[in-house]
């Protein structure tokens, strides 16, 4: 796998935050983090963050569901449950948001940044940094970024992630970062506590754009793999032999190699366990739709993507396929299991 380090990838460095702070413990000021959105992804991410920051650093958490913050405080500890997202913003230098839809992100930022009552200076006189890890459309994200920047109350970057719940728990997520150059290092130092890699793709919204382009490609390659495997199997080929050949040849792709849709071909792939777990069809469809909408806004008429949207739309509601890994497309098209 080609390393892309020479370009823009920002790995953790020995001169990074932890090291520097370690050197300066006597004079170091405690940092303060806010975390909004403790869902399936946010909860384990916040947990990893809490375990990596200094124990004297402060962390403020909030979720629409109070039971979740209670549970987090009990299970993980050393956090303060904020009464509101405004409260989180008041007390934190660095605020992370992990939310499902554009309107959630918009609402949270409207509550945090009131035009009539600007936030007090952040602890340590540090400029506030808002890191939004939600996967939303670039246009909505740009709108929120603009509101933050024009209010003068902080800086905003987009950092959607890939790696799923498994990666969130293991702290091995990849973040796709859209941020001004001067914010890349500071953001990366935070994100590396929850993931293994941060890739800076350009100015704000670039993280989201990169994620949508990648997932558009994934959505299509996944269907293509299901169709090609289905053909081979229907023609009488052994699926493992076929996949092995493809994976030394030009058909090789992530769905053929790592997540093969035919049960038993890729070790540990969801196909082997009735397509349970993995990357859910609803999330795939959500990302595909976001890509298509962002494409339409740029006057891009899709080709295969228009068809793929209809395939996933059928899959997400098919009783035999719904709530399963997106490789279940193989079942949808009548593949032999």
């Amino acid at each position: 796998m080609a390393s892309i380090a020479p370009l823009k990838q920002v790995f953790s460095r020995s001169t990074g935050a932890t090291a520097r702070r370690g050197f300066a413990t006597t004079t170091r000021l405690d940092a303060s983090y806010g975390f909004i959105g403790l869902g399936q992804m946010g909860y384990p991410m916040a947990s990893n963050l809490r375990s990596k920051i200094s124990s004297s650093d402060k962390m403020y958490i909030h979720d629409v569901n109070p039971a979740v913050t209670e549970q987090f405080a009990k299970e993980i500890g050393n956090v303060e449950i904020a009464q509101s997202v405004r409260d989180v913003a008041e007390k934190s230098e660095t605020i992370l948001t992990v939310l499902p839809e554009p309107h959630h992100v918009q609402n949270v930022f409207q509550q945090m940044l009131r035009p009539d009552a600007t936030l007090a200076e952040a602890p340590n006189n540090h400029e506030r940094l808002f890191i939004d890890c939600s996967t939303i459309d670039p246009k909505s994200s740009a709108g929120v970024a603009n509101a933050v920047h024009s209010s003068g109350q902080g800086r905003f970057v987009d950092a959607p992630m890939s790696g799923g719940v498994v990666g969130a728990r293991a702290g091995t997520l990849t973040f796709m970062l859209g941020a001004s150059e001067e914010l890349v290092e500071r953001t990366t130092e935070v994100l590396k506590m929850m993931g293994k890699r941060t890739i800076h793709l350009g100015p704000q919204t670039s993280g989201l754009k990169g994620k949508l382009a990648n997932n558009y490609l994934l959505a299509l390659n996944n269907i293509a793999t299901a169709e090609a495997m289905n053909m081979g199997v229907k023609w009488g080929l052994d699926p493992k032999t076929l996949a092995d050949m493809i994976n030394t040849a030009t058909g090789k792709c992530w769905p053929s190699e790592i997540n093969n849709p035919v049960p038993g071909v890729s070790e540990n792939a969801p196909a082997g366990r009735d397509y349970k777990g993995g990357f859910g069809t609803r999330l795939m469809l959500k990302d595909l739709k976001l890509a298509l909408q962002a494409g339409a806004e740029s006057n891009i008429v899709p080709h295969l993507g228009a068809h793929a949207q209809d395939i996933y739309s059928a899959v997400v509601v098919d009783p035999a396929c719904k709530d399963r890994d997106f490789s279940v497309v193989y079942r949808y098209i009548g593949g032999k299991e």
Copy 2:
């Protein structure tokens, strides 16, 4: 890249033909090879074969164009130009065919194997082995195999290849073999003189089926990559940064990594030289159509493939795209170069 050796791949072995023959030079009987079809692929393949077999082995060549066999005899030497394909068959134990279309293969075999005048016993009393490296539809191939086997005049295997003209010249082709188990070793010893790998996919027709499944997948992944890169670039992302990210992520595939359609992204890819060279759009369309037809014969209704066929049909006749590498789809959809 995952090795698939434990399964069915048949690498050259030190106990292979050359070694054995070397050991037994004094008593060894000279082998005889026939080669029919000296086109863009066949010519360099035959050349490699001639250079790898023993100089005392015989080789008989034939092509519809006599100028080509003349040239081969002059450039490569140590061959005999056969007057007809029947003549090739009479004199050879092992006959290779590399032809463009099903009807060419059918015609050549009708001329070689007459029901009224069976071939004399092959040199060395060896059972004749017919290795067809053409990419044709499995049904036609099965028909020819059936004719060969029922005539009792030899054995027939299909061994389409991938690797293109570059691989044919360098002797680094990959062969996808459809053959009875007992023919695999003998066939592989021949093919390894023209390629680096032979993958046995099952009984006769399996080689073709594997190739068509792989190329169906490739045809779709290529369009998907062109579309995803186009989106990213139109949205303002740097194409190399985007591709580097994708290639560490789930969108990674052969077209994104090795043959990226955006000029300057993949080193040495055709995109960087006005899409010249590479895997021609006509060949891609031909293989895709073969896959779709073979699918229809198995009652498989395609999904994305139906659309892809129309995209490549437009590309092959578009003046700005025709006669170029199939990654030129990026240009067809309006990608920024």
Copy 3:
């Protein structure tokens, strides 16, 4: 609307069966009819048949659900409930079948026509006529026809219908007939008691082929209309004004004129009542799949049909769309209601 009478359409004639029989009442032998399958379509068809034949004619009915035959006997009367489909066949000259799937048709005919125990001669020494009004694939239908004809126990024709439950009740169905020339008149005399028009499309299976070709076209035109109306409405046009224009122009088609998918445009169309009633999405998908499969069997690779199949597959399981008229595609694609 162009009349097609000069070609092959067979309207009822004043010299038709009823009239002729009326003329010959004193010597006329009573006719006997069997009716198998009293579902949503079959029940009203059988009811119309019973009301049109002479009161002294016999009618034998059967359904897998005994409650339905009981109800029919009570509501409509003058019928005999047969104990088995074999019993129906024994007692009837003319047997109609209206069944949902190929396997139902196959099962019923296997029970009726045993190789070991052929049917007794039909009443009046009339050759038995089997009229299958089910919509199944032409291949299965040909198989059943072949079994009937080779058994020598009767003649078989296919006569799928259009017009829906409304047409079945009103007796205004259109039948698409696939039958040998010599059976056309006899079949038409029966069918006209349940519909207003019988179109003879050619030999056996032609009725089904015609219906599938028509419904393939309908499936696509319906989506196309939904998309075009959606565009116009999203662009701010008044839907009725737009539809009126289209219906005087080249976009005019059955879905734009009679069954417009935008509520309030076509009078009495299902769109105006939450898409209730009409031609169900499941039936549309069933017919489309039959057409695509029959196409694949003839090596036809579909173009738009492959995509349409995925659209209807999504629609039939979408909670907001399922179990509604197929014009609900407009809702599925996000049309403004």
Copy 4:
């Protein structure tokens, strides 16, 4: 065919312009017309206009090709060849433009309406009326309309037409009008001299929007018809019998009835003369692309249209299909002729 008169269609009336003018000949002021763009459509339209207006009315013509205006002056007579489009605008009350692409329309209007040198008052102190009959995208059209209106030098309406060269010659075009209510009557009086029907679809741009929606539908219905007819014919049905059945059934549409793609089915249809004449594939593709782009600007992700674009893109460059009526799609998909 449903009349839409009660809605918005504006037929010629006995109280229309000609009648009124006839009544008032003694005091009537001569009218002045400008006509820009004498191409395949514009030339016969201008000719019809010249023959319908009063012989004392003035007409000023212009085309990029001076030979064409010379020819018009010779053939039709009673016109003045304007030196420039500015000259046309100076001298005319009513200016018609019939141009191929948005940039042509934009250029012509930039030359006519200079911000630094507004046009003198029009003859008869009449407010200038610009009627653009070009088929361009609604956005560009709105831009031009805005420039006209904000300059205060006249009023602008869009009136794309359907009916082709045949309709232009016969004066039987249908115009789809996008105009403010108060301009509808005046515009209609002009257009009726070149066509048989004007349909007012709403404010400026609505004519174009209506045309694009209609032609989007037509583009799809045409492919659908070609596919359905191909199926039926491949299955052995007689094409005329099949089409006759479809045209009494739910598959009926303009391409099945008036312009059937199978040679010999629709009388006088282009299919019967090697698809020559009719509505050219390039124009169909142009309109489809305009519809898709205008759709994308409204965030509409297409379904079947994305695929159709690729089909027509293949057709327009296929040597056997190019420069023919768009029903030649039937040939492209391999239909039996």
